[in-house]
Point group: C2
Chain length 315, copies 2
């Protein structure tokens, strides 16, 4: 008999095909498992797969008395309360760096599309504005990447890949993170200093209680009226209401966002703005990144059910 | 009295401010000059500024008997018939490399936006498709940049900058151009071979009679159903009707275009497609690129009116 694995978050079926070939999957589809399964069905479950960002309340863990492994599909594990899982003897694994290139590439896509006003440009062509020589204030020249000051917040795998890509655009790259890294970019010892210096702020920091709403009205004001924010980390890192206010009031120039405070909801105040580019949390959403994340999930599950340490444990 | 300079193409006024501060500008605004000025006014004109891509028929030159310098704003000079200007003793200058970084950056923007389906992604968020969990075939995972085979056609300043940027995305870069260059990318001795090999074809070749419609149905078929074409060179390089047919028939996957056969017109057959990203010839359209192009135009005009060789002559 194959080992049972609970799917906690809502995943497209295609992403679970390889895992389903090896394990007996119980798909909770993003709802509290007890709504889909009986207490008796949940009682023997020893491992679950989750999206990492989705909170797992203690009440959910209470319905899974045999749970000993939480495996995150992706890099993040901010939805997992590590103190709580420690107490219950549950190990936690993730897919470190598996999607880093894909996420960094999307960060670049958002940065370039936002600063070059790509959505307005495409619309200007399609709507006949260009052929009709319609006045186009949104098409006036804007600063390019050459010599642009790009601040990368967070210097993990994704931050490094973003910085390396930005450097190839002949931009000036600096960073802030908790500690100094062995990288060829100037270090700022505070986020505030980085925002003051930068034209573009790329958010690649790990989400958690310490970084919640750390991008607030004050940081955005420091970024300034030519400033652009790009976030591919987690929505919780930005005070979203402050960001909307800054975008509406031209406190900053624009934003490229892949993540939001309450996914899958992007508020109307954000979706009605012209100076933003919005994607539906697709940073890690390439064929290669999914294959790599599935490799990590399978390696973690295989190790766990073989009674070994996880292959990719969260420290 | 300041020297007179005719403006042949239609330029936004802001782009001519610095030049107008030094020269007496006669703005033809893109029409045959004789429609705006009298023969008597045109007779003494010795220099003109043009956009480079716009054709200058011999009949126009006939109305400018004193013309001895054509200064192109930008890199291209494909609208200038060099045999004709040679015969008439007219020197031709351009703005080499002044906009190369800006154009290369837009090429990357188009490539990333096309391959990551950015327009569909933004629309999916804004239209409420994401929050409503609407099925989204356009949002299924696609190949990312890691290991992607990118063929750069043309290895001038712009081609080199595109290749350097692509390499930073952990992609596999190769190129074709008339001759082999001292660059760290594999050389293909034909465009056909490059298209056969590549997933993505970046067109950075100089436009001219020899490259007209060189990207035809055959090359597009070689690129294949996962293939993407990006063109920031000139519209004439692509057989636009063949491109539309290839995009409609899924012979290739997508295209990112900044240039078109008959600007400022992008045909309805193109603007109605979902698998393209279209920009209104804004490759060189950043503040830095305009400043650099204006520097070149001024240096060329100053040299010409001082009786010297052009600072940036077209060879």
């Amino acid at each position: 008999m194959r080992d049972q694995v609970l799917i906690y978050s809502r995943f497209p079926k295609a992403q679970m095909v390889r895992i389903g070939a090896r394990y007996d999957l119980m798909d909770g589809a993003g709802k509290p498992p007890i709504e889909t399964f009986t207490a008796g069905q949940l009682k023997p479950v020893r491992a679950m797969i989750t999206a990492g960002g989705q909170a797992i309340p203690p009440a959910v863990l209470d319905t899974l008395p045999s749970l000993r492994a939480i495996i995150c599909y992706g890099t993040g594990y901010d939805g997992v309360d590590l103190a709580e899982t420690n107490k219950r003897g549950i190990v936690v694994g993730n897919s470190p760096a598996a999607n880093a290139a894909s996420v960094a590439d999307l960060a670049m896509t958002l940065m370039l599309a936002t600063t070059r006003r790509l959505l307005a440009a495409d619309d200007y062509v399609r709507s006949g504005g260009w052929s009709g020589a319609r006045p186009s204030p949104s098409m006036r020249p804007r600063p390019g990447m050459t010599g642009r000051k790009i601040g990368v917040y967070g210097m993990g795998e994704i931050g490094r890949k973003i910085a390396a890509r930005c450097a190839a655009f002949e931009s000036d790259v600096a960073y802030h993170s908790r500690s100094r890294h062995d990288v060829p970019y100037a270090y700022h010892d505070s986020l505030s200093s980085l925002a003051e210096w930068a034209d573009i702020l790329m958010i690649a920091v790990r989400a958690g209680a310490d970084t919640r709403h750390i991008i607030n009205a004050d940081i955005l004001k420091k970024l300034g009226p030519q400033g652009t924010v790009v976030n591919i980390s987690r929505g919780s890192v930005i005070d979203q209401a402050a960001l909307v206010a800054a975008l509406e009031g031209n406190v900053i120039a624009g934003a490229g966002l892949d993540v939001y405070e309450r996914e899958p909801h992007a508020p109307d105040a954000l979706t009605k703005l012209a100076n933003v580019v919005l994607t539906p949390h697709i940073g890690g959403h390439t064929i290669e990144a999914h294959a790599a994340m599935q490799d990590c999930v399978l390696a973690n599950l295989d190790a766990f059910f073989a009674g070994k340490l996880l292959r990719y444990p969260v420290k």
